[in-house]
Symmetry: C2
Subunit: 399 residues, 2 copies
Amino acid sequence: MWRDLSPVGRSASSGGYFRQPWASAESELRAWFAAECTSRGLVVETDGIGNQVAWWSPASGRSEEPGVLTGSHLDSVLDGGAYDGPLGVVSALAAIDLLRERGFEPARPIGVSVFVEEEGSRFGRACLGSRLVTGATTWDEARELRDRDGVFLADAVSAAGLDPAQGLLSLDRVATFVELHVEQGRDLVDRDVAVGLATEIWPHGRWRFDFAGQANHAGTTRMEDRHDPMLTYAMTALAADKQARLAGQRATFGRISVEPNGTNAVPSLVTAWLDARASTDEALAEMVALIERQADERAGRDGTSLVVTAESVSRSVAFDPDLAARLAAIGDWPVIPTQAGHDAGILSAAGIPTAMVFVRNPTGISHSPDEHAETADCLAGVDALADVLTELARSGAPE
Amino acid sequence: MWRDLSPVGRSASSGGYFRQPWASAESELRAWFAAECTSRGLVVETDGIGNQVAWWSPASGRSEEPGVLTGSHLDSVLDGGAYDGPLGVVSALAAIDLLRERGFEPARPIGVSVFVEEEGSRFGRACLGSRLVTGATTWDEARELRDRDGVFLADAVSAAGLDPAQGLLSLDRVATFVELHVEQGRDLVDRDVAVGLATEIWPHGRWRFDFAGQANHAGTTRMEDRHDPMLTYAMTALAADKQARLAGQRATFGRISVEPNGTNAVPSLVTAWLDARASTDEALAEMVALIERQADERAGRDGTSLVVTAESVSRSVAFDPDLAARLAAIGDWPVIPTQAGHDAGILSAAGIPTAMVFVRNPTGISHSPDEHAETADCLAGVDALADVLTELARSGAPE
């Protein structure tokens, strides 16, 4: 399976992946997923925006029981790695193969899911597929989102041959959700174990900073006559780094757009996006407010102005602690927090008992072509996921 | 004429101009220029890359004399103003109208010229049209330049219906070049005069700074584990501003490109262009070296790396001092320096006696939709240019 996925949406120069939702690489991946499921006799359902689920129903009787859902996503950040997302989908299918090899007969349905636009790399809203399915975001709100080229989400979805009017996946029959994911830090490396479970997702969000100044000639305009928003931005990027370091949190300006972006012109507008994460909702709000205040002060000195817009803010998500404890006991796995958002966080916030299985990442690097997991660790992850599914779908398992 | 030009390549939202070379707005402007010249009985010549010249030859005999060339450019920076370039072309045509009204008969040919890609906004090389004509840049070198979309210059020129094999304008018959231009500073405002002449162009150049780091997840990567080139860039932009202020020179980072430019990824690469200008060649070299040294030091602290490439460096240009003095005497005009590059600088460096006429800019703002000149000042500019052409093309004028 891994070999089939390897070339899809891959950049020849960087080796990274560009798997944007509702574009060609993703359509290819959706078809691949459907074919893999069908070849396993799983019944695939694709909803009106491209979310997919495939069910393995118990041979006799209990196919109407609430089921166990597992899976992840197939889209990537721009120039991302091979594992973030696909590892969870491939491992889910591999775990089903393993369970069948072991002769396991589920007492309730087991589903494999793929949610669209998990990364928010195209329309700026992370976990958009799961947000729409759980109602955390409404279609009326989402359809108006635009990508960098100004394309509306509704048009992108139609262009991909999908019809939102056909409805969204129902989670009514999902008793539990489990997402396997490559770890995006080095907690498991430090603990020297291949597999762990998640306790919580840090609160996190994206804020757009619009720094406005006055376009002017880069040669003839004296430095003291300028209103250069690039300077206000530059100080803000350094301030964000400093505040996050001091507080032991995270703050990143990784995306920027400049108008007119000409070598010989002082910019009129610099738009930059702050990605910030912290251990508590309060710490996050405090850090962002502090960065904004420092930016405002510098704007005053530069003669520029600043507007900050919260584009998406996700509160802290604590995964079901009883479920985590029950599953951790299976393999004596450690239970660790994560700073990354996941569809699992959205489903958990919607009241579905949810757990995450992490697979060790030797460098901790993620959202990069260098993202990696050793094959032995990936196989340990499949094994662990199969054990987890056994625990959740076995006959006589507690709800 | 001004009214005809006003809508071409204009952005409805900003009111600024996007007149990129070898694209539709510029083709329209080239056709407009040819029509204006033809309607005046001037013979228009367009060379193999789109430079244009139209000659008004003496009625009798002396059309083989070396001539006086005047003009400017019609391309703009991205989101630029209406005056930078077009004012010199429109004023040249208006000056010819005025000379004819006055009944002036030139003793040598007067030409009106338009050079392409003066701003370097598409292929990064300022004054490319005049550089090719004077041989300062060769076609073999230029044809390999690429724009932001990766299009080769040779292909862009062909796509515009031009054929470089048809040759370039010859400057053999140009005895003098005069370029009228809106002032891009506030020297004339401070002096309270509508028109001035140029003494020199400051040395200036463009340097590309490639800051390389390590792409990573913006949430899960601890601040201390990052190699974030955005931070190195941010400090460098602030250092450039500070050095230029301290030295009374100019340094600007107005253009930036980020890979992968995703909100939730630490960038792998930040490329930014430094535009720097100083009063002497030595001061310019010293300032750029200082900025580069500070950037290198910060790169060491950030765990990033830096490569600096000089994309174009123009040495100081002193316009012909005797010519400036002779012309300044006509209207008692002040003679002032400029920090902006112009085709006039390229022709002067190629050994052609060259002068520039500046028209007052009430705010000094340029390379911006807010660029402006009062109509009365523009008319004073046309008047001055007509006087200059009279002095240079009259019977018995010194060479």
